[in-house]
Each structure stands twice: as structure tokens, then as C-alpha cells.
Symmetry: C2
Subunit: 485 residues, 2 copies
């Protein structure tokens, strides 16, 4: 089997990762049988002409994933992972490839052209010339910069989203909040419910932390609460983490009644509800729905933690997010935060605070809403015009993402490379799958693109998908009919 | 036993943590025997008059630490942790207490009065008015801001500290580097060697990650390499993490010969060497010693990863550090970084880069060296003048910390509260212990205090310790002699 391993030293993927994937594939498809012994690292390194540490790294990852077990003095033996949680995360490109696609539907972020640079400069200027400048440069609290914490907590109290027993922790964006929650609540193999499909950055955190990750389907009305109820009753999860408004990747929003039902079920079963709420301020039409955290505060209800950030409105490069929840939970998250990186960068915390306090955030949000609304419309119009018959697209009322399902016979993942050669990128369904891969689906992240780019990109995709569909159907017609038996 | 639990709702320590510590003490001292059953969370919450979630949280932490095991339908039972790694981290105060000590020797950080505020403002101004402003606000790479990475890597190559196969990852200060290293290399119960005593932030990361943490004594010449060699041969650790220059808390520095010997032993055993090198630029006297990373590059040697930051020189509140090491290791750390928080804040990365590139960092470092040198001298002089006879203090040539050992009969931990009442704070030996508590020792972090504050603080401590010594000795004299049998 080893003879078949081909490593490419010039590829973007590191050598150890290439080797790791080769070996894992071989284990997955049975070429390397359970119980078989892998060569010693020194030996395999010699055979492949790579550094011994490259082989060690690949073996270590396989071991962490449960594909390999070492026996002192005897070597490393192939095993099979015992739990679905050991399925490794789909890799997300770490660096921008050299031949970058011209029209990128692959990242859920605002457009650089919309950044309020003058307002940002004025804000920073005010911060660094304030009396707080020295305090900002000094070591801070793991909980976050006190003036920002006060501002956000008072705001949440005023809107009914924080109660007297709630506290706040500043995080490096929502991603760190997911990570801290995994560490504090799901580091011992606990069961965690996620939406399926879901943003890969959420799923990866829990899978890397060896939680038992189960997916609950997302419908046009967001999380399928009936399915969630069955999963809660059957699997007694520690927590459920959802994005109830403008979910990533589907754009779906849960109605208030569904949120209340979920809270009721979670409360009864003692399940912690984590609400990832960073897209809600980007509503382009329709009526706002109360956050789960707010609904939970209106009755005896489940424990909830609300996660937010301004990164989808203004400053993705400034890593500032926050978590609001019961004081004792926030205290545990803050301890994990301190061990993780002491505290969030203070310059950015102060800038974000000043940006909000000065009213510039609200002013910019209005512009972001106008732009987002145009872009969403351009996306849905172009989907209708260019995608092959039988395709569907979700119709969100806000956010940054539309979920497209192509006719079943198409595999959106297989077509990514061809789309990129034609200058258009997107993320296919497999990136977002928890338990169930929608191979015909893909995500269109529209917020970073101008309407004319959106139109141009979808015309390219429509032609590509249409041509492939024609080819597949003609191939299929040429096949002899199966005998009826 | 439950009757004896006293919780204080007004204390700084959260209720769940108070309960957790009470229960753990009861288990540690045998009041709660192994195998005994704890009350259900609802029941205990009722008895103590606290929220049920408070009890659940305390139980969860005990379970994570290995003190408690749950059996479905039967309850929670006391167990004993199976490995020393399960010893929980000593808590570090998360928030500044209201009655803050006037003279604080407890934090290893520069003085706010020395912050180069005008230079900082000019730097930020240049950054936000540069062409890079929009790119800084956009989502970035998990590896870090490319111009900063290039600058630091070229600098490390020029000084012989990075080779052609090395790469760089930007982290949120060195603390996040420790955390990522734990996650990538020591998340499956691996053995990790640390200095003993050591900065609690390092020890806590590995203990929280359930690594098997073993301490190697630190001598006046830094890590005891003979003891490290024995530990490597006996325990086959995955890695050893050391601060070879101006170690925290002892201030000790390893000579070049000891570094080379450690590299030789680590190479032979395949042990990864992590070099935490954030204090080295703060050398006030004596000759610089080459970093371990540089020595490793000069021969066939162990794998090493170098950790650095500017936070001890200028900007602790800006969370920017970096790790330099073999490309395949950096790739794995970057994957963990992406899952952890996407990337480090870009505004601060750009500010730190501009501060260094503009020459302002070097200019400020000269001032920091002058101030640090005066403060170290003031500390050592005041130790000699005020501490009771029989006390010793280490004599570092740089950094921010001196390690004081009082006469054996004194317990520095017991005296902390009294010192704080007299307006002086310090961290006692137990905060830094890995396997061996030096109860008569404490750390003096001098860099944040003016020389006259240092003198005043040590006079207070000297009087306190002297009086306690007199009391203990007189008490001892009054006791009847033990019968000889």
C-alpha cells in the first residue's frame, strides 16, 4: 500500500497532511486493514524521502482521530474510530491560493468596499487620544475591557436580553466563544446537537474536542424542532448550539413559536441552549423575531447563552465578540478564556466600544442593510435566471448566505474545481454536513460581492451546471436499460 | 459533611467554584470517602439554598478533574484522580479586587508610566491612514497578518533563529501559543516536562488539557539538565517547555552549554523542545546567550519551537505573539488556531509591525532597559536590607522577576492576606509549584513599580516577615520539650 502514496512537496497542503489523508483514505477504504502494522516513522520517512517528523505528525493526527494505536516496543496498528465524533473536520483553506477566483461566493463576510474607513479612523483617533490609552495598553481582565462589558450588558438589559443574574465575557469573535463552550461544557465526550447543515467552524470545534456531534435538520423555518425534540429525548445532549436567525449556511430563521417550543423541551431535559446570533442585525425585510435569550428570560426556562459580535456588520478583522449568560457559566468560560489567551486584545475592544457609543455603528448598519438587501435580491434573481431547472434557493430575509440545491444528479463538490478555473468560487454542501451530506447543495455568500459581480458569477455557475446536467443526462440515456427481474 | 459547607454569595469567588473547592477539599482530606455518593444536584441545591445550576457546575468540574463519576440512574460517586495531571490549577484572580493593594509585586508586566504613548499614537495614526487599512479590517489568515509574518521571519532568519524549513504563526500573545501547543501535541494524556517552579499560566494550560505534567527543578543556572535527562529517560515525554532566559518566576538563565546538552538529550529521545523566550530582550547586564532555537539550527538537533512577543517590552494589552518552528508543526498549530478563534486581531498586528519597523520599538527598548535595570537593583538592595536574616533572593541579569526564599519556618502563602492588608501584594510559591511546593518562597515582580515603591513595599514585607519569624520562634521556645522515648 505504501508504494501507492504520492506526496507533492509543491502543493498548498502540507506534506504531513497529505500523508495523513492518504493513510486515512487507505484505512477508510480497507486497503490498510484493521490490525495491520504501519512501518516505523524512520522507515516510512526513508521510503517516501521525507523528514521523519512529517511521518510522526501524520501518525499523531491519525492516533488523535482514532485510526491508529501505538503499542510500546511493538509499533503502530490500524484501528477504527469508535465514535462518529472522531470523523475529522473537513479542511478549510488556511492561506489564499495563488490563483484566486475572481468572484468569491465562498466567504460569509462584508465587502471591503463598504468598510466605513473614515469613521473607523476617527474612532481610533478618539480612542488613542483619550485618557484610557495607557489602560488599553496594559494587561487586562479575562472577562474583557470593563467599559465595553458595561456598555454591552446595559444594552442587553435594556432590550430584555440579559437578566440580573447574567454576566458577560468578551471573546475573540464568536469563533472563540464556540471554542470556550466546547472546552467548558463538552470536553468529556458529551453529546452536542448542531444544525445540519452548519457552519464548518462550529462543527469542527466540537469534533476536534471529541464531543459526540449529532445533526438536527434545518428546514425553511430553521431548526426542525420536532427532530430536535426526538434527539434530546434519545441522546440526552449537554447542549444544543443554533443560529436561529439567518442561519449559516441556509439563511433560515426560526419563528418565535419554534424558539419557545425548543426552550420548553430543553428546559425539561436540562439541556443548555447556545444561541449564535451574529446575523440578526442584518435583517433586510420582514419582522424581527425575539432572540432565544430574550424569550428564555420571559419565563422559567432553559439555561441559555447568547453569542454576538459586530464582525458581520463592520470589522471582521477586529476580533471582538461576546457571550451573555448566567453568571456561573460566564465565570467558567472566563477561566477557560484566561488559560486560552489571557484576554481579548484591548485596542480593538476600545475601538469597537467607541464605534458603537458614538452612533457610527448604527449609521453604518443602515448602509450595510441597504447594500445587503440589494445583494440578496441580485442573488435570488440571478439564481432564478441562470441556475438549471429543478434548482432551488432558500429565501432568507437577511444575513449573508443563500443555500442552493441543484438537481440531485449534480455533485456541487465535484464541480468546485471547474468553477474556480472559470473564476468563481463557492463552498459545496459537504463542508457544512454534520451527519448527512447534501452533495447537490452549495452555499452562496453574497454580502461581499457587488450586485453585478453576483450576476456575472451566477451566470458562469449556471452555464457550468447546465452543461454538466446535459452531459450526465445524455450519458444516462446511452446506458442500456437494466433488466427487470 | 454537607452540613459543613459554607458558601459566601458576596465573595469574589463564584458560588460554583466555592462549592467545587469545598467538595474537593473534603475528598482530598478524606471527609468524603472514595465510593461515597453525593446528593442529587436538586437535593444539594435545596440544602444549600443555591441554584441547581451552581451545583451542576461544581459537579461537572469535579468530574472533569476525576474526583467524581456519574452512573446513569444511580447518582454521582466520589473517585480519586488516577494521574497527577488531574490536580486542578491554582486559581488566579480574574478580576481586580476592590481593595487593591497599593504596591503590587504580583504581576510580571511593565509599568504603565513607561508606556511610549506618543510613539504609540503616531504608530496607530500611520497604520490607519495607510493603504492597508481596509485589508486590516477584513477577515485575515489563521497564520497571521502577512506583512508582520514576513518581517518577523526575515528577522529570525537574519539572526540565525529560523532556518529555510521554518515557518511562523502569529498568536494572541505567548499564552495562546502554550494553549495551541497543548492542543496539538499534548491532548491525549501525553507527558509534558515543565520547569518547577513555573509560571502558573503555563502549568494550568497543560493540566486543564489533562496532560501528565512533571516538574524539573530550576537551579540558579536555570533548568537542572541532569534532572531533565533522567525525566526524559524515565518518562519519555512528548515535549519539554522551558523559559531558558530570565525564567518566570526565578529569573534564572541557562548557560549555552546546558542548552546544548538539553538539545542533545531531547534529540536522542525525540522530545520536542518549546522555548518560551519573551524576556530575553530585557537583559540589563551580562552577555546574551544564544536562544535554544538558534543553537538547534547549528547542528543536527531536536525539533524546537520558539515563542516570542513584544508584550514584556511595550504593549501587554495588545495580544500579539508568535511561534517559529518547523513548517509542518506550524501548519498543525495554524489549524488549531483557526478552530480556536480564526485569527489574531489585525489592527494590533499592524500596529506592532509598524512600531517595530519604524525603529520606535528599539528606541523604547533602550528606555525599558534603563528602567528595568534600576528596578532590579532597587529590588535586590531592598531584599538585602529589609528581609529577615536567612532569606535569599535570586540575582537575575534581566527580566521582571526575582524569587525570594524566606527562612523555612515561614509560609509565604499564609502571609499574603496580611501583606495585602498592609497594602502590598505578591504571589507565593504555591502558585508556581508543579510537583514540589516551596511554601517559604514567593515571586517579586518588580518591573511595574518605581524604585521608591519597591523599597517601600519591601520594607513592609520585611517588617511583616520579621515579626512573624519572631512570633514563631518565641512560640516554639515556649513549648515543652518532647519526652525522649
Amino acid at each position: 500500500m505504501i508504494e501507492l502514496i504520492q506526496l507533492d512537496p509543491y502543493a498548498d497542503t502540507p506534506l504531513y497532511r497529505q500523508l495523513h489523508l492518504s493513510l486515512r483514505n487507505a484505512i477508510e477504504n480497507g486497503t490498510l486493514a484493521e490490525g495491520s502494522r504501519l512501518p516505523a516513522t524512520r522507515e516510512l520517512a526513508g521510503q517516501l524521502g521525507v523528514n521523519r517528523a512529517t511521518v510522526s505528525s501524520a501518525y499523531e493526527v491519525l492516533e488523535a482521530e482514532g485510526y491508529l494505536r501505538g503499542h510500546v516496543g511493538r509499533g503502530s496498528f490500524v484501528t477504527r474510530p469508535s465514535s462518529p465524533a472522531a470523523i475529522p473536520p473537513a479542511p478549510i483553506p488556511l492561506a489564499t491560493p495563488a490563483n484566486e477566483a475572481a468572484i468569491r461566493f465562498d466567504t460569509s463576510r462584508p465587502s471591503e468596499l463598504l468598510f466605513p474607513l473614515d469613521d473607523f479612523r476617527a474612532t481610533v483617533d478618539e480612542v488613542i487620544h483619550s485618557n484610557e490609552a495607557a489602560a488599553i495598553l496594559q494587561l487586562g481582565s479575562a472577562y474583557g475591557y470593563a467599559p465595553l462589558r458595561r456598555y454591552l450588558l446595559e444594552d442587553a438589559r435594556a432590550s430584555g436580553e440579559a437578566g440580573p443574574d447574567d454576566d458577560i465575557l468578551i471573546t475573540n469573535g464568536c469563533q472563540q466563544a464556540f471554542d470556550l463552550i466546547q472546552r467548558v461544557f463538552a470536553s468529556n465526550g458529551e453529546t452536542v446537537l448542531l444544525e445540519d447543515p452548519v457552519y464548518a467552524g462550529i462543527r469542527n470545534v466540537f469534533q476536534r474536542g471529541a464531543a459526540r456531534v449529532l445533526g438536527v435538520p434545518v428546514t425553511a423555518d430553521g431548526l426542525d424542532v420536532q427532530a430536535a425534540t426526538r434527539a434530546i429525548e434519545t441522546h440526552a445532549p449537554r447542549l444544543i448550539l443554533i443560529t436561529p436567525t439567518f442561519q449559516n449556511p441556509t439563511g433560515a430563521t426560526m419563528p418565535a413559536a419554534a424558539r419557545q417550543e425548543l426552550l420548553r423541551v430543553a428546559h425539561k431535559a436540562g439541556v443548555l441552549v447556545i444561541e449564535n446570533d451574529l446575523y440578526a442585525p442584518l435583517r433586510y425585510s420582514g419582522e424581527p423575531v425575539s432572540s432565544i435569550k430574550k424569550l428564555a428570560g420571559q419565563g422559567t426556562s432553559a439555561d441559555t447563552i447568547l453569542l454576538r459580535s459586530f464582525s458581520k456588520i463592520a470589522f471582521p478583522g477586529l476580533r471582538v465578540g461576546w457571550a451573555i449568560g448566567p453568571r456561573h457559566f460566564i465565570a467558567r468560560l472566563a477561566e477557560a478564556k484566561q488559560a486560552s489567551d489571557l484576554h481579548t486584545d484591548q485596542l480593538s475592544q476600545a475601538v469597537v466600544l467607541r464605534f458603537a457609543q458614538s452612533g457610527r455603528l448604527d449609521a453604518h448598519r443602515k448602509k450595510a442593510l441597504t447594500a445587503g438587501s440589494e445583494r440578496l435580491k441580485a442573488t435570488l434573481d440571478a439564481c432564478a435566471e441562470f441556475l438549471p431547472a429543478g434548482s432551488t434557493a432558500t429565501r432568507p430575509e437577511g444575513g449573508m448566505n443563500v443555500w442552493v440545491r441543484l438537481p440531485d444528479v449534480l455533485d456541487a463538490g465535484e464541480l468546485v474545481a471547474r468553477a474556480e478555473r472559470e473564476g468563481v468560487s463557492y463552498l459545496p454542501g459537504k463542508y457544512f454536513a454534520v451527519g448527512r451530506v447534501e452533495s447537490n447543495a452549495f452555499r452562496l455568500s453574497f454580502a461581499g460581492l457587488a450586485p453585478e459581480e453576483i450576476r456575472r458569477g451566477l451566470r458562469v455557475l449556471g452555464q457550468l451546471f447546465g452543461a454538466e446536467l446535459t452531459r450526465l443526462r445524455s450519458t444516462h440515456r446511452d446506458e442500456p436499460a437494466a433488466a427487470l427481474v
